[in-house]
C-alpha cells in the first residue's frame, strides 16, 4: 500500500515535467510577448527585445524548458514573474490557497447537498422524494454556472444585501462563490449517487442482509451505501479537479484573487513563470486528489487495498 502511494507520488515527477513542457509548448505557439505587454504600446521594439532578453523570454523553447526544470530542481526556484517582478511562489501561493479553499468548499457543499438527496431518491425510487429532486437536478445541471453566480449575486448581494459581492475577507465571502461552483456538481452527484445506489441495492448481498432480518435502515446505510460509495468517491475526486479549474468563473464573477483567474489573466501577458507554476500547483493538487481518492477507495474496499498491496513497485 505504501509502496503504491509512493509510486503514485513519484509519478508527480513526470507529471510536472510534462506539464511544464506542455505549457512552454503552448506558450510558444501563442502570439505576443511579455515585454510588449508590460511596456505598453509606445515602447520601441529595441527596448522590447531588450526586456524580453533580460527576462529570458527570447530563448529557444527547449532551452527555456530545461533551464526552468534545472532551476526548479536544483534551486527550488520557480522564477520571477515577468509581470510583477515578484517571486512567483510568493505571488501564487496565497492565491492557490484561496482557490483550494474555494474548491474544497465546493466539494463539501456539492457532496453534502447531492449525495444524501441521491441516496434518498434511490431508496424512495418513483416517489416524490425521487422525482422532485431529480427533476430539479436535471434543470440545475443545465444552467451555466456563471448564470447561477449572477443570479446569486443579484439576489443575495443586491436585493437582500446579505452577502458581500466580492473579495475573500471573511467566511461569508466564500458562500456565494462556493455555491456557484458547487450547485452543478451537486446535481451531478445526486444523479450519480442515485444510480450507484440503485445498482448497489440490487446486489445479492443486500438481499442476504434482508434475509438475515436486518431492518431497512441497516440494509441501506450499512450494506448498500458503503458499496455504492466507490463510484461516488471517484466522482467527487474528479469534481475537485473540475472545481479547481472551474473556479475561474467564480473568481472572475466575485473578484476573488484565486489562482485560476490569475493564470487566465497572465496568459495575456505571457507571464510564463506564473502560468507554469500555477499550472504545476493545480496539476499536483489534481494528482494528489486522485491519489487520495484511490486511498479512500482502499480504505472502503478491502479488495482494492489488497490489490494495491500486491503491487510491489
Amino acid at each position: 500500500m505504501y509502496r503504491y502511494i509512493i509510486k503514485r507520488i513519484l509519478f508527480l515527477i513526470p507529471t510536472v515535467l510534462g506539464v511544464v513542457f506542455i505549457i512552454y509548448f503552448v506558450m510558444n505557439i501563442t502570439p505576443g510577448d511579455p515585454a510588449r505587454a508590460m511596456l505598453g504600446s509606445s515602447a520601441p521594439q529595441a527596448d522590447i527585445d531588450k526586456l524580453n532578453h533580460e527576462l529570458g523570454y527570447d530563448l529557444p523553447f527547449l532551452q527555456k524548458y530545461f533551464n526552468y526544470i534545472y532551476n526548479m530542481v536544483v534551486k527550488q526556484d520557480f522564477g520571477i514573474s515577468y509581470f510583477t517582478r515578484q517571486s512567483v511562489f510568493a505571488e501564487i501561493w496565497p492565491r492557490y490557497i484561496v482557490t483550494i479553499n474555494l474548491a474544497l468548499m465546493g466539494v463539501v457543499l456539492s457532496s453534502v447537498i447531492g449525495i444524501p438527496l441521491g441516496i434518498y431518491a434511490a431508496v424512495k425510487q418513483y416517489s416524490l422524494w425521487d422525482t422532485v429532486p431529480s427533476i430539479f437536478a436535471f434543470l440545475i445541471a443545465a444552467v451555466p454556472s456563471f448564470v447561477l453566480g449572477m443570479i446569486l449575486l443579484f439576489v443575495f448581494s443586491l436585493k437582500l444585501n446579505l452577502l458581500p459581492s466580492y473579495g475573500i475577507t471573511s467566511f461569508s465571502n466564500y458562500i456565494m462563490p462556493a455555491l456557484t461552483i458547487s450547485i452543478p456538481p451537486a446535481a451531478m452527484n445526486l444523479r450519480f449517487t442515485k444510480s450507484s445506489m440503485l445498482e448497489s441495492i440490487r446486489q445479492d448481498f443486500v438481499r442476504t442482509a434482508r434475509a438475515k432480518g436486518a431492518p431497512e435502515k441497516i440494509v441501506i446505510w450499512k450494506h448498500a451505501l458503503k458499496n455504492a460509495m466507490l463510484p461516488i468517491i471517484t466522482n467527487i475526486g474528479l469534481n475537485l479537479g473540475m472545481l479547481i479549474a472551474g473556479a475561474v468563473v467564480a473568481e472572475k464573477l466575485f473578484s476573488i484573487p484565486g489562482i485560476g483567474s490569475l493564470i487566465v489573466d497572465r496568459i495575456t501577458y505571457k507571464d510564463e513563470p506564473v502560468i507554469i507554476a500555477g499550472t504545476i500547483l493545480i496539476a499536483v493538487c489534481f494528482t494528489i486528489v486522485m491519489l487520495m481518492v484511490d486511498v479512500i477507495y482502499a480504505y472502503i474496499d478491502p479488495r482494492i487495498k489488497a490489490k494495491y498491496a500486491r503491487m510491489k513497485g
Binding site: 500486491r310 503491487m311 510491489k312 513497485g313
Partner: protein
C-alpha cells in the same frame, strides 16, 4: 444418421497412431501479474491428440484447462514449449500464417452468452469466419453455406436474422458450434461447451457434438469439470491439477483404475443420482485448491494429499507411464511400481 458403437471408435483410434494431429511439448503459460508475480496457469503439458480422438481435460476451476485449450490454438501466446500441428511447429509461425491455420483449428466456448456478439444476427455470426477467409466469392454463397450449417447443427432457418439475446442457451450454443464448423476444421477445442446449459439441453448438445464427430471426422479436445460428461464423450482423459497433468489414460481405464489420489477423490466426489449410494460417505479431499501464483517445487497436490510424504514436498513428480497408455504423476504410484 451415423450408426456407431462406442467400442468401434476406440478401435479406430488405436489403429491410427501415426502422427498426432496435435502435440504439445512442455507447453507452459505463465501469466505475469501486476507486481511481477507469476501465475502458473499451464505448466509443462505434454499431450498428444491423434486424429479422431476426443481428449477430455478435467480438473477443478482455475486449474488451467481453458488456458491450455486457448494456448494450443495460440489465442494466448505460450510462454514456452511447442505446439505441433500435424507434426509441424506452429508456435513460431507468423500472425498471418496463424490466421490461415485457424481454418483447421477451432474452438467452442463455454458461455454461449458471452461468446456471441450481441450486435450481429445469427447468420452473420455463422458467416463471419467465411467472410474473413473469403471462402466464397460472393455473399450469397457464403450465406447459403451458413444456412446449411444451421441445418447441420439443428438450428431452424427462421432464426437466421434473430439476435443471440432472443435465443435460449441451447440454440446459442448451436450457433457457436455452427460457427466453429464453418471453416471445416480438423480439430476443435470444446471449452466447457455444456457447463452453462441445463441438463436436458446439455444432452441435446452432447448428442450433436458426437454426431458431428462421426460425420465430419473431427478431433476434439473436450474441456470440462463434469466427469460424467467427460466419461461419456471422451476416448482419452487428462486430469489437470494446478496447471499440471496429474493423470492421463483412456477413458475406461481412468474410471476403472484411477491411480492418482486426486483423480480418485475427484471420481468419488461426484454425487451420483443413485440413492443406493446415499449413505456412502463422500470421499473428501481436505482443503481447497491452492494458489497457482509463484508455485514452489514439489507435487502440487501434496498439501491436500492424505498420502503425502517428504519427497512430495521436495520434488516434482514426473508423468510416467504406469501401464499401457496410462500416465500418472505421483511418487506413490512410482514407488508401487518400483516395489512391484
Amino acid at each position: 444418421m451415423a450408426n456407431y458403437v462406442g467400442t468401434s471408435r476406440r478401435e479406430k483410434v488405436k489403429n491410427n497412431k501415426s502422427t498426432p494431429l496435435i502435440e504439445t511439448i512442455g507447453l507452459r503459460k505463465l501469466f505475469k501479474l501486476n507486481g511481477g508475480a507469476r501465475l502458473h496457469a499451464v505448466d509443462g503439458i505434454n499431450l498428444k491428440i491423434y486424429p479422431g480422438e476426443t481428449v477430455g481435460v478435467v480438473g477443478e476451476s482455475g486449474c488451467g484447462k481453458s488456458t491450455l485449450g486457448r494456448t494450443i490454438l495460440r489465442l494466448i501466446e505460450p510462454t514456452s514449449g511447442q505446439i505441433l500441428y500435424n507434426g509441424s511447429d506452429i508456435t513460431k509461425i507468423s500472425a498471418g500464417k496463424m490466421r490461415e491455420m485457424r481454418k483447421d483449428l477451432q474452438i467452442i466456448f463455454q458461455d454461449p452468452y458471452s461468446s456471441i456478439d450481441p450486435r450481429k444476427s445469427v447468420i452473420d455470426i455463422i458467416a463471419e469466419y467465411m467472410f474473413i477467409h473469403k471462402v466464397y466469392k460472393n455473399k450469397i454463397d457464403t450465406y447459403n453455406r451458413a444456412a446449411e450449417l444451421m441445418d447441420l447443427v439443428g438450428l431452424a432457418r427462421r432464426y437466421s436474422s434473430s439476435y443471440a439475446h432472443e435465443l435460449d442457451g441451447g440454440r446459442r450454443q448451436r450457433i457457436g458450434i455452427a460457427r466453429a464448423l464453418s471453416l471445416n476444421p480438423k480439430f476443435i477445442v470444446c471449452d466447457e461447451p455444456v457447463s452453462a446449459l441445463d441438463v436436458s439441453i446439455q444432452a441435446q448438445i452432447l448428442n450433436l457434438l458426437m454426431d458431428l464427430e462421426e460425420e465430419l471426422g473431427l478431433t476434439y479436445m473436450f474441456v470440462t469439470h463434469n466427469l460424467s460428461v467427460v466419461k461419456h464423450i471422451s476416448t482419452k482423459i487428462m486430469v489437470m491439477y494446478l496447471g499440471k497433468c496429474v493423470e492421463m489414460a483412456s477413458s475406461d481405464e481412468l474410471f476403472q483404475n484411477p491411480m492418482h489420489p486426486y483423480t480418485k477423490a475427484l471420481l468419488k466426489a461426484i454425487p451420483e443420482p443413485d440413492i443406493s449410494k446415499r449413505d456412502e460417505e463422500f470421499a473428501l479431499i481436505k482443503g481447497e485448491v491452492s494458489s497457482p501464483i509463484n508455485v514452489k517445487p514439489g507435487c502440487r497436490f501434496a498439501k491436500r494429499c492424505d498420502f503425502c510424504f517428504d519427497r512430495c514436498i521436495q520434488e516434482d513428480p514426473n508423468l510416467t507411464e504406469v501401464s499401457y497408455e496410462h500416465f500418472v504423476s505421483c511418487f506413490l504410484v512410482e514407488k508401487n511400481k518400483v516395489e512391484k
